[in-house]
Amino acid sequence: MNASSPDSISNLRGLGDTGSPAATHRHVPVVRPPAGYWRLALPITGKDGAILIDRRALAANLGLIVALLALSGLSLCLGSVTLAPLETVRALLGQGDAMDAFLVHELRLPRLAAGIATGAAFALSGCLMQTLAGNRLATPGIIGIDNGATAFAVASVVGMGMSLAPPPLALAGAATATALTFGLAGGVGTRGYRFIVAGIGVGAVFGALTQLMLARVDIDTANAAYPWTMGSLNARDPASLWALAGALSIGLVISRYIAQALNVLRFSDSVAAGLGIRVRCCRRGALMLSVTLTALAVAVAGPVGMVALIGPELARHVSSPRGVPLMGSALAGALVMVGADLAGRLMLAPLEIPVGIVTAVIGGPLLLWILLRPSRRTC
């Protein structure tokens, strides 16, 4: 006899019909988007062409942009010399006092641009890393990538006497640290927190190497490199900034493209694979993007790793829980960086606190909270 009796099937017959792909194919003229989304039909790609826009994420991103603009304005106005908003605008437009114009164009604007670019890059790479590792504590700074990039960049100062922190060396350092961390921990997926501690170890080695190299150079070079090793927007160099800006814009496009796959990576690996995601490939891509962005950002501003933690965290709070907030993270990271830099400049003026210290003071308690909050899932 068959295991299932005729009546158990007949009870379920109707159910089966609804589930069948061919059944009840009625044409619905208007497609209703899922709750919380807008559906934007795209005429170019046939009748099914449409993208979904998460309303909450959109609102959050717009809010973040407004906040970022406001803070940027403040950052341009405030400092050792405070400018009125109107003066700032006029200085931006090239009118008004020549001194003000110099101050805004040559000092504050590049600094602001560096802050926005590094903040966005750090936070985006943090969000990518957290997603691919499935762990909110796994940010590039914590697993030693920042330190690797810093060590190699410092090596350029010590060994070759080139300009401070050229991006290629930072990239090489970040790649080395990443390879070491992941190699030593034996991959990312299975070992949870272990690979983070392996990363802490790798980071400690590179930190020590940085110290070692700084100890070998003359005191002036060391002093010049010091604020940068703490993370500061002072020592930015235009070429590095341009490299970062280029990578960041490419990174934002790519991350838009892989956002859907990353959404699925928040599930377990086997679920993601079952949904047709090439898990390993996707992870590797996200990892490479994350490492590149971190390295280039380190080349500009030094290891301000905490932004990679604070940015995504902030984005997750204001943005929609339905997706990985890549864009939101970038915006929030820029916001945090600009804010921290502004605070660092104003708090102990005329002394300037490196932005790395400010973010570490903000980020430490946040990390502790993540570790200690009532245990739910970590991603």
Binding site: V197, I200, G201, A204, A208, L212, I357, G364, L368, S375
Partner: protein, 349 residues
Amino acid sequence: MTTSRRGGAPCGERRRALVIPGLWLLGALGLLCLASLVIGAGDVGPLTSLRTLFFQPQGLTAASEEARFVILELRGPRTLVGLAVGAALGVAGALLQAVARNPLAEPGLLGVSAGSAFAIALALVLGASAATLRVSVAQLGALAGCACVLAAGRVNALGQDPVRLVLTGAVLSGLLGALTSLLLMMDQRAADEIRFWLVGSLAGRRLSDLQAILPSLLLAAAITLSIARPLSALALGERVAVGLGHHPRRVRLLAIAVVALLVGAATAIAGPIAFVGLVVPFAARALAGPDIRRTLWLALPLGPIVVIAADIVARVVVRPSELSLGVITALLGAPVLVAVVRSRRLPTL
């Protein structure tokens, strides 16, 4: 300890397992101390030093006078300080690992050293400067740091997961480090006073520094002797320890107090030095097995071996200047950290 169980043959075996590596280690330590006396960053080379030490040179030339001074007034105290600091950190590491039941627990990693560094910076900014004050302040800070992390370990059973506990400690260290930097930026005088100290080094330490911490070390030794047996019972689990008539909570509190005393004292004279407390118990366990009493005994020679060897390296690599000790111990300790994490099953203590 030597008056351990009277269990016939195994007891003798066990003691031999302790004595033989112990003797080797003592020998190695002696050699290292000698090396520490004769090797240095300055002009007084090993040969000159040896001659000065063993063959009283005829006639007091200026050179031999200088060598005498360097060896007796600079390297001698420095080696003694290294002995004390190494022993303190090694024992503190072993104790902390036993209390946290976690092979990754380490005063530097868990934020204990960072706590004392922060406390000292705070005290300096608030106007203190006396050297003796520094020791007790550092110990208070160490106690606070230790309490913070272990309390955090109680939340959500975090302490059950060794790796997450270390993560918490690392976060706390990072936060305290940033706060320390912030304090130092606010107060230039304090910064100048302790910048050389903050990086962790034995350079320029004097015998008077050692005298300041000696009482703490003796007190710590006495307490350690009294709690070693209950601690080894605690390794079998809280219930078992209670069943054997011990008071786990009291033992644990005492052990934490000892850790704070030791780490505070070591940090007060040598600055925050990470990873010694990780490497030493790791090596001791590898040599003599998991029993905490044997680990403690072996930590006594092993700690100084690590610290003095690292100190010698720190003097030599960037001659004529010196490297900070913390850098060398980090280079040494981080691989051990990775090795512990990599081992398939984290051994529970």
